[in-house]
Every structure is written in structure tokens, then in C-alpha cells.
Symmetry: C2
Subunit: 496 residues, 2 copies
């Protein structure tokens, strides 16, 4: 086995000449690779003391000190201390010097003896053991100058820094160098939790008999009105990017799929540079036919959120804790079953708090925030559902309340005072849909195919669309939606 100093040169040579990450002799055939079983850093504890292990990890930091070099190895959010000591056998002075010089973020195969430490290693997640390095192979060499340091990007925002000495990595630097930024423990955890939200969304709905569908993103007419829509050149003509799967979900209901969900990209050409707007995000959408009352659907969505919150609590506790180490996370509170209020109750609460608003006014963003605080104080929940919005503030396809023409069969749901789903019973009767569209000044000709979808029998139905990134941001109490989008898109950013 090549030793550290040789292996480095050897590996680099291999890369450039032989174009493969392992020595030629090791990849002549399928099964010919070294007899090494790798272990994960998170598993290496005192039970390994005295044993030899192979680990593939990033070189997180290194610090040479005479005849010794201290190294921290990292895998996602797990770190372990390594130690190379001149022993006049494998580890010569040159080897220690070489290890000290390998650039941070390089990927290393390290072979080492695990040993207990006299006092806990505070700087690592594995506190009780360290690795006495015997072999050190550079599998992928990082460039020596990193555009940002992982320690800087990973530093707790609350950390004491009276003299303002710590380097802060601003958001654009992070996003410009997203591949590095994503390596922080918090980011590793955020996107694993986000995957969990999607999995829970799908699993809960599949269990309830929903069918997953895929709706087209390229469409011939703007689905939610002409503003805020991206135009695509389509061969010799033009098309648009779907602002939601709304029409297609409803067509699936008219096509007898009964209960459907879809997870996919939605696009908004909105020139909003705020903490909570993206031009492209992931929609978790659902639509469901019901027998008698749209509350059958609203309650299903409420249960869905309860199940998602419970699932995160149960299965993603360690991710939440890791995120909490960088960003202070207020634990997310919810009630089971969820709190349900009607719009006039919200208006009353806001008026009691001094907000002036009419009965048919929509909630402003600051009012929503304030309402979230009032409800948290009063009911101790970060999630609630608000039913029966004024008809005037909802889209034309929203079903009016049969008992009150000023009110609609529609609802929003909120997390920490921000809207995360807007939903409603939809009008499934073509004549009424035309009447309401005309009332809103919508050009009937442009939505003909939408209206026609309901001409051949359609059950009553309701649904809603959830912004995935918002759910994760608000569940964790993060301050910017760009923290929960892997490669965020906003009016000023389409790279990387």
C-alpha cells in the first residue's frame, strides 16, 4: 500500500494519466478492489478502541505541530480527530509535513488505529476517540484557496462575537458557491429534512388513497391569469410555464382519479425580492373530490399537516438538533386536531389588537404575522387553518358559499403567521364558472379548455397547493426561503 507522501503523488498521477480514482491494479476487473471495509465516522466510538479502520472523509481542518499533525475528518455532520505522529516507520517527518499541507475539503481515505482519548475532544462530534493515522490517501484534492471556509459558513449565528472578529459569509457568497455552502452540517440536515417533508406528504396521501400524477409545466395559456407568467419559445411559436398545476389537478378529478397529488416545479415571474418569494419552487399540490362538504377536504389537509409535523418530530429529531446548533430553532407547536378559525374570528382578533380593516378586506402580510402571534399566545399553536374567506378576495374559480354570497368556500393555512397553503372548493359547474369569470373580467375565450373540462360530469372537489420550501423554512423558523431551496431562483439569480 503506498504511504502518504507517495500516495498523494501517485493518486494525482493516476487521475491525470489513468483517469480513474484508484490505482490501475485495483480496477482491472469488476471485483478487484482492495479488501477494505469502510466505516462511518458516526459509528466510531469506544467500542472500536484498539481496532484498525478505513474511513473515507473530507479533510475538515489540519494543524501541523512539530512531529505531530492534528486533522479533523468530516462526513456530513460527523467529525472525528485524527493524529499523525512521526514514528520512523510509516509516518516519517515528510509524511507529517505532507499531511499538514493537503488542502482542506480534499477527500481522504485514511487507515488508522482507533484509540480512546484522555479528555473529550470538544471540537468533534466523536468526543471519546481519535484516529492514529497509519495510511493517508488523497482521493480527490481540493484547490488550496476555498471561496468560503466551511467553519465560517457553519458558525452559529448567535455565537458570542463582541468584537465582531468572526468572518461572516453573506448570502450571495454562499449561493455563488453553493456546493461548498451545502456541506455545512445545518445544510446537510435542512435538505434531509426537506426530503422528509416530501416523503411524508406522499406517504400520508397515498395511504389515504390519493394517486400521484404529473402535470405539464409547458402550457398554452397562463393558468392563473396573464401576469407573472414566464414565456417560453416553443418551436415556431410560444408557450408558458405553469404557475400551478391547478387546471390539471382539476382535470384529473374530472377524469375520475378522485384524489390526486403532485410534487413538482411551479414558476412565478414575479419581480419580488423578498425573504419568502422564489421564481421557481416546488409545489406540493393536492385535489380531492368530496361527497357533501368541502370540509371533508379541508380536514384531510389539516390531518396531512398533523401527520407531517408528527413525522418530522419522530424521524428527523437529530436533523432538527443539528440545524438548531447553527440557527436557533423555536420548537414548532401544533394541535391535534388542528385549530380551525373562521375569517370573521380572525378579523375580530385583529381589531381587538388595534388593526383597522373591513369585513371583506384580505389580510395584509403584517396582519397575518400579527395574527400568528395572537393565535400562538392564545392557543399555543404555530399551525392553524382559516376558513371562509371573503369571496371578493379569492380567484374567480372559488366556490361561493351557498348561504352567504359575500363569503366563499375557501381557506388558507398558516405556519408561524405565514401562509403556506391556499385552497378552496372549486366551481365544477360550467355555467357558474363562466358567470364568475365574467364578474372578474376574465376573458372566457382564453379559459375555454378550463371550462370545457367540467362539461361532461365532474364531482364537487376542493384542494390546495403547498410551497415546499416555505413549509421547511417556517417549520424550522429560518429567516429566508433561499435557505431551503437547494439552488434558489429569484429575479436576480439563475446560477449556479
Amino acid at each position: 500500500m503506498p504511504r502518504a507522501d507517495q500516495s498523494y503523488k501517485y493518486q494525482i498521477q493516476i487521475f491525470l494519466i489513468n483517469m480513474t480514482p484508484q490505482p490501475v491494479s485495483l480496477c482491472a476487473g469488476d471485483e478487484l478492489h482492495p479488501d477494505r471495509t469502510f466505516v462511518n465516522i458516526k459509528d466510531v466510538d469506544s467500542s472500536y478502541a484498539g481496532k484498525n479502520v478505513w474511513i473515507r472523509a473530507r479533510l475538515h481542518t489540519s494543524r501541523g505541530k512539530g512531529k505531530t499533525c492534528f486533522v479533523v475528518f468530516r462526513q456530513q455532520y460527523h467529525t472525528i480527530q485524527g493524529l499523525a505522529v512521526v514514528d520512523d516507520k510509516n509516518i516519517t517527518k515528510q509524511v507529517v509535513k505532507f499531511i499538514s499541507g493537503v488542502s482542506k475539503e480534499s477527500i481522504i481515505d485514511v487507515h488508522a488505529k482507533v484509540q480512546n482519548v484522555p479528555k473529550p475532544v470538544e471540537s468533534c462530534t466523536q468526543k471519546d476517540v481519535e484516529l492514529l493515522i497509519e495510511e493517508f490517501l488523497v482521493m480527490s484534492l481540493a484547490e488550496p484557496q476555498l471561496p468560503l471556509q466551511i467553519e465560517d459558513a457553519a458558525r452559529p449565528v448567535t455565537e458570542d462575537d463582541e468584537n465582531n472578529l468572526n468572518i461572516k459569509v453573506n448570502q450571495d457568497t454562499r449561493l455563488d458557491n453553493r456546493v461548498l455552502d451545502l456541506r455545512t452540517p445545518a445544510n446537510q440536515a435542512i435538505f434531509r429534512l426537506e426530503a422528509g417533508v416530501c416523503k411524508l406528504f406522499r406517504d400520508v396521501l397515498t395511504e389515504k388513497g390519493f394517486v400521484e400524477i404529473h402535470t405539464p409545466k409547458i402550457i398554452s395559456a397562463a393558468s392563473e391569469g396573464g401576469a407573472n407568467v414566464f414565456t417560453v419559445s416553443y418551436f415556431k411559436g410560444f408557450a408558458y410555464l405553469a404557475q400551478s398545476p391547478q387546471l390539471y389537478k382539476q382535470m384529473a378529478i374530472a377524469a375520475d382519479f378522485e384524489k390526486v397529488f403532485t410534487v413538482g416545479a411551479v414558476f412565478r415571474a414575479e419581480d419580488s425580492n423578498t425573504h419568502r418569494h422564489l421564481t421557481e419552487f416546488v409545489g406540493l399540490d393536492l385535489e380531492m373530490s368530496f361527497k357533501y362538504h368541502y370540509h371533508e377536504v379541508m380536514n384531510t389537509i389539516g390531518q396531512l399537516f398533523t401527520e407531517i409535523f408528527k413525522g418530522l418530530q419522530t424521524s428527523y429529531q437529530s436533523e432538527i438538533e443539528i440545524i438548531n446548533q447553527q440557527y436557533k430553532v423555536e420548537p414548532f407547536k401544533f394541535l391535534d386536531p388542528p385549530l380551525k378559525l373562521e375569517f370573521p374570528q380572525a378579523v375580530k382578533l385583529l381589531r381587538e389588537a388595534g388593526v383597522e380593516m373591513g369585513d371583506e378586506d384580505d389580510l395584509s402580510t403584517p396582519s397575518e404575522k400579527l395574527l400568528g402571534k395572537i393565535i400562538k399566545a392564545k392557543y399555543d399553536t404555530d399551525f392553524y387553518m382559516l376558513d371562509k374567506y371573503p369571496l371578493a378576495v379569492r380567484p374567480f374559480y372559488t366556490m361561493p358559499d351557498p348561504n352567504n354570497p359575500k363569503v366563499s368556500n375557501s381557506y388558507d393555512m398558516f405556519m408561524r403567521g405565514e401562509e403556506i397553503i391556499s385552497g378552496a372548493q372549486r366551481i365544477h359547474v360550467p355555467e357558474l364558472l363562466i358567470e364568475r369569470a365574467k364578474h372578474h373580467g376574465v376573458d372566457i375565450e382564453k379559459i375555454k379548455s378550463y371550462i370545457d373540462a367540467f362539461r361532461y360530469g365532474c364531482p364537487p372537489h376542493a384542494g390546495g397547493g403547498i410551497g415546499m420550501e416555505r413549509v421547511v423554512m417556517l417549520y424550522l423558523g429560518l429567516d429566508n426561503i433561499r435557505k431551503t431551496s437547494l439552488f434558489p431562483r429569484d429575479p436576480k439569480r439563475v446560477t449556479p
Copy 2:
């Protein structure tokens, strides 16, 4: 309870005046709906004989005959016969006449007594019982003229039709009226099976430790070269629609996610009007770092397919049977573990069959088809993996074989002789990537961010992208990819 003739008028009135699908008295409050438990047609068998049931279903067909009206009710792929007979109580002559006149595809709430039939009802899936109608409420009335008849759209393609009397519904008529077309039993089953493919893909990979990611569709540079890419107007500038999540999957690997998958829309501005091309389809993509050999990844993908095929066999047998009633499905054969061949073996088999080709030529589409037949005959499998493609026919980012400069570490996989996944080890070393890009005449400046992603340490990795609609089409042996896309997009179609 209103009787049939009254209820019809009443319901329509309700729709138009009260804007709700149920009588006003039934929706005054949340819980105020009639005390009815609905049953599903598929569950109504002899065990229900003598009992009364409520069913909400489509009026599939009706046929009045003097004092009797025969009706077929339909839910997805289940049908049951109903019978209204003049009894001089609820069911008057007028009622029978009214029921006979309700348009097909209307949604009906029917209250009926279940009774055994003297001989099986051949035209329905529920053969042993029928419904003696007592109440008949029109919940949603279809227009009397349907653009296509469900019976025509659902007719088996193989059905004897010597005199060519049966009405055939051509593909454009189907797609123009997709909401109706999707109501056929075969389509109901196809899209449920497709949802199953996605679920199996995700579940198998999640079980193996993969993390789900979401990659942007709006990108600043064409990911797979400049041709065949859609341009989007992006505020005051331009952007493109991603032709694959390739770059972003690889960036996720460089960002320490180790194993990732993503399910989402991919876009190809290819003016191909064939049975197997779409301009927008759903990509099932995965990427995985490996320790020593890209076969670790290739074998993982092979296992993934085996698990998907097994899962479909186990959990979607009834859907497959229903599809088989309209489209003759040859059962899909596969080996466990899957058959793996090397490219030169394929060339040899083709040459033995009379095909002339050079060692470094790519396989033409007819050659792929022929090879599929040869391999089926020789190995009795509809799925196989073909490894070690000539370097010359693969994209610039494909890792060359370290032992043979003419060969690459890349593979395709096939179902019934058509490619459904193309994959490879990717070059993770910037210097080599630049060298190969230059060799292919790719402008280095345009792929700078792609190359830069590998500058800060990246493990060796491989992956692939699967076309969801192709997998379903080929698994079922269907003849056109438009049959497995809910709302297909091709150069000539962006509606509905």
C-alpha cells in the same frame, strides 16, 4: 328525499342558484349532511343481496325499454347494472323516462336494493348482482353530446371487427378530449401503475440511503449542449429549461449528499414526432458516489429495476390485467440479478445476425430493437444492461476506461429493446474534464460553473436518468409514449 324526476330539476336549480352540489338544507353547517354511507361498486357482491346501498357513480350507459330502464353505473374500472322498474310508488313511468334521458357520464347518487341475478351480467364487472333503483339524484349533469364515447375509447384493439363497423377513436381525438379519454379502464390503470413506478423508484432508493433532491428547471446555460434547448424570457434577460438535472445531481454529490435522486420535469426542444419522444417528460434521476468501481452504481441501478419489476408484479397485477383487456400486454420478463453484457458482446450478436457495424459505432435504433429480440430469445429477459460503450459515442463528461482509451465507464439499460436509461461514471477531476471537453469542441467558458463544481474535492460518482413514461410504455408493451403521459407534450401539442 326528492324523487328522480324532481331531483334532477332540483339539482340543476341548486347548481345555478345556490352554487353548491347538494340541496341547501344539507349544507347549512359542517356536519349536516344526509345520513348516507356510500359503498364502492367493486365491493357490491352477493353478500349485499337484499340490502340497500347508496353509490355515487357515473352513468355509463342507459337503455329504456317500456316500463323498465337498464343502466350501467361505473367507478373507474368497476361497473354494475342498475334497473328502474315502474312500481307505481317511487318509480313512476315519468321517472323511468327521465332516467332513460339523463346523459351518459353524468354523476349520479343512486339508492338501490341489491339483488342477485338469475344469470351473470356479462357486460359488467359485477356479474352476480344488480341494483334495483329506488332513488336517482343527478349530482353533475354531462352535456348530451360527448366528443367521444367511453365504450369506443375503451374497446380492445384486438376485438374482432371484420366489417370494420366499430368506431375507432384516433389518438388526436383522445388527446384533445383527454378528460374523457382518461376515464377508460385501461387509462385509469395505466396512471395508477405509473404512480406505482415512481413510488417504487423512491422507496427502493430511500431504503438504500439516497436523499431526494429538487433541482432547478430554469438554468442559465444549456446543460447538455446548446441544441434542443427551450429558451425562457426571464425578466429583462433570457434563461433555459433544463434538459436534465445532470449538473445539479453532480453538484449535490460534490456537496456531500453521497447518494441522491430526483423526480421531475425535463425538457427537450427536439423536433421529433415519433412514438417515443416527448418535449417534456418526467425524469427519474439518480447519482451516487462510489468507493472503488462504477459497477457499484451500475449494480445498484440494476437492483433498482429488479425491485421495481417485482413490485409491479406483486402490487399492480390487477391494473396490468385491466390494461391487458384493452391492449394485449406480453408479460414482462426479467432475470434476478439482471443480465449484464459488454458492448463488444452486443456487437458480436448483431454481426452474427447480419448487421454490419464498426467496433466503435453506436447502436442504431433498429439495431437496439433487433438486439432486444436476440437477447430475449437467447436469455429470456426483456431487461438487460449493456456496459462499456465506446468512448467516442458518449458525452464529454463520461469517464474513460483507465485500461482502454477507446472505451468508457458507461452503460445503457434496455426494456424490450428500447433504451430506458443512459448512465456512466462522470469525470470528477477538473483537469480531465477540461481535456475531454476540448476534445469534443465544447466551449470551456460556457461550462465553467460545471467544471468549478469539482475543484473543491469530489468523490468518484456515477448515475443515470430514466424516462418515466418510457419505462411504463415498455413495461406494458404499449405502442406510443403518449399513452403513458397524462397530458403529453410534443412539437405539435401543448394543449390541453
